[in-house]
Amino acid sequence: MMRAEAAVPLGRARFTELSLLVWVATFAITGFVAVLATETSTFTATAVVVPVAFLALMLALHIFLVSIRFRGDQILMPIAAGLTAIGLVLVQRLASDLLLQQLSWSIIAAGAFAATIVVPRDLTALARFKWSWALLGLLLLIAPLFPVIGREINGARIWIKVGPASIEPWEAVKILLVVFFAAYLEEYREVLSHSQRRIGPFPVPPVPYLVPIVAMWVIAMLVMVFEKDMGATVLFFGIFLAMLFLATGEAFYALIGLALLIVGGIVAYQLFGHVQTRVDTWLRPFDEDLRFGTGYQLVQGLYALANGGLFGAGLGNGMPDRIPVVWSDFVFDAFAEEAGLAGALALLALYLVFLYRGMIIALRAPTMFLQLLAAGLSFIIALQTLVIVGGNLRLIPLTGITLPFVAYGGSSLVTNWMLVGLLMRVSQVSSRMRGGGPE
């Protein structure tokens, strides 16, 4: 399909992207109309202005990409736009007073995306400053622990206050981490994967290279203990393990890491109340002492899912608003209630397509740094989706990770759009090398 399009005389146009955006527009408009048509939502000017403004914004991004003759991927941007549109429809449905705020964040996110497309002149140059990224990442990671700027929200100390807004620095850290690991591992992968020493069938990396593994584990555990956020811990360590596996191909490293994480989790369960509560709530949310306490949110989410059935209650016809903080923690359950299993699977499919596109970009990337970068960034979106959806579905303990693009929240939306920008930049590099048109 891509090659056929490249052969079209107007090789600089981005037809695939434009036609996919038409689908996004169709969804956004029907979604807003459906929500407005139900009694649960009040008709306001905002409800009309927001979808129109958002679609204009996406069209502007498309025109911008065409005008700078951008020759990268055409699928990722419409997927991100579609997911953001679902997010806006759900904010209108669940917390309409937050709608304007979420639109503002979309505008900032679009700006950040455009900046990512234009600003770094040479992506490979990112690798040169890897230690700076690592230092910046660490600083951002521990920033919420400092008094004055640090904020604790819903029991997790992962926020800092900047001006009027609370932002989650963690969101930026995840991208910095991937950039750093991509650069670091590209440099050292030979040593890590061709270790001479073995214990039985297991490769043992030389001591200097064990250090980062242990260091990362320690940092992850500290995050869990001091910032009280299991989601960030899992994501942080997950990214590290995935990157290590991508670079070395040693599943053994990943398994060791996973074992360390589980051991750490068990110890934390014994030692720390907040971890224990999370796990107990996951194991038996329907218990009398939990269903009106810490299990309330999860149980209400499960009721919402049960009401979904195959085809859902219809937008605006369910009762997902019974779930506390539904717009940030439980959007998946809310969507599944009103769009049913069919809608839930379609939503998961969008993330899966995103993952495949991202990994194809990684496979086609010309240098190992870019390959690791693209694969790592795609992995972030997939892992985040799996962890929060798995938590919503009670497959794993619930964590405070946001559903990428869809859940209400500014920091997450902005960084995820930057992530899309970076992925598209990587795809642009490969298409330049091959001298083709836009993909």
């Binding site: 992968r189 995935a242 596996f245 991508l246 670079a247 070395t248 191909g249 599943a251 269903r291 009106f292 149980v299 209400q300 499960l302 009721y303 899912l305 049960a306 009401n307 979904g308 059935g309 195959l310 209650a313 219809g314 016809n317 009762m319 019974r322 599944a336 049913g340 299993l341 839930a344 699977l345 998961l348 993330y351 899966l352 993952l355 495949y356 990994m359 990684a362 496979l363 086609r364 190992m368 390959q371 690791l372 694969a375 992995f379 997939a382 892992l383 799996l386 959806v389 798995g390 579905l393 009670r394 497959l395």
Partner: protein, 479 residues
Amino acid sequence: MTSPISSNIRSLTFALAIAFLVTSIGAAYWTVLASDQLANDPFNPRLIAATNGRPRGAIVDRNGTPIATSERTDSGFARSYKDRTLAQVVGYASSKFGLSGVEAAYAESLIGQDPADPVSIWRARYLGDRSPAGQVVLGIDLKIQKAAADALGGRKGAIVALDPRTGAILASVSVPSYDANQVVDPAKQDAAFDQLNHDAGRPLLNRVSQGLYPPGSIFKVVTGAAALESGFDPTKKLRVDDPYQADKSWGDYFVRSSSHAHGLFDMSDGFRLSENIYFAQVGLQIGAAKLTDYARRFGIGSTPSLDLAAAKGQLSDSGSIERPTLLADTSYGQGELLVSPLQMALVYAAIANGGVMPTAHYATEVRDAEGHVVRQIAPGPVGQIISPATAKTLTTMLVGAVAGPGAFAFGAKIPGVDVAGKTGTAENRPGEAPHGWFVGFAPAVNPTVVVAVIVENAADGGVAAAPLGGAVMRAALGK
């Protein structure tokens, strides 16, 4: 594609795709497979919200008098509960705290989706087209209910009356009670619910089916039935000398007679004068296996089938009787026995009903909005527990226990009607006044009503409870 890490990228993608597959299966599980069970969970607010903007079905007594209705307010419909004495039975439908009682047990029927009407369920689920609310008819007769509530007054305890032929519950009082209107009033519900949950008197508990007490002498019918069916001769006189012990191995343990009796007793005397030492000896003669067998047949130690929550009780802490002293104590209703008033009403219902124990139920019918019967609730009997002959013999002795010379249960007499019944004074924790029991039925031939009464910490024990039973039976018989 020639890069050394390409295969790693593919493996990672594959692993993630598998994880997405598992997640999708999880989504299918909750939205489709587990859906029915969760949709009908009494705490699911959707069951209540289904009636937002439309009335929830009424709960009425057997004569159609409303007990719970939905009334129009400025913001939709609000539930209104008419009878405080039925609070634990009817329950509440709160958008905040979920459902309880009949409101929970018949939640689907009350929103027009009775399980006996699959078309309305299908229409509601797939077309969003809900049938008008149905109506749940209870076996409760408000006239008998009022007599029972008045009889108990403010005393802690419970009264249950049921029809031994069908198992339909005619009256059900549990004190202390509460005002369910407060639980559904958005302005008061938080304080009210919190207070109810912390009240030491446990007003939310339906003492009729969930309250567990030692039965005392009312349990003697079980020992009597076991003895009669094991070929024990009820006319045989046994020597009673207070205090009693079977042999020296009992050490300083004795069975005491409440009337410090010395003399010869047959089974009729045993029932009439409620002689513990007589029944202790009967129990020791027939043995633990027989007594355990009959206690189990009568449903002691198992949860009775009921359309509301019911407690299980126990024959003993371990579930069986190993020691002779425990056998002696259990035979006259003490030991480690625990029963609910409903369980004892059912034991006597079996005796009243020629040995056939009925299945208890609060609701009798579900009707649709037009008043057509959608579902009859008439669970079949539990089974033939004892022979008709044994039932007849026991009935005769229980009539003597009410009307015979010196009978303890004299307070339950009704002029012109033969009443069968038994009092019990159940010993409690040391230092606490004993609970007073009365269980009985009337008329003695072809009985139509069984009543069980418990008055917690009654100073006069069973003697205090018997007149309450009489008053309720009078109301039921229209005397």
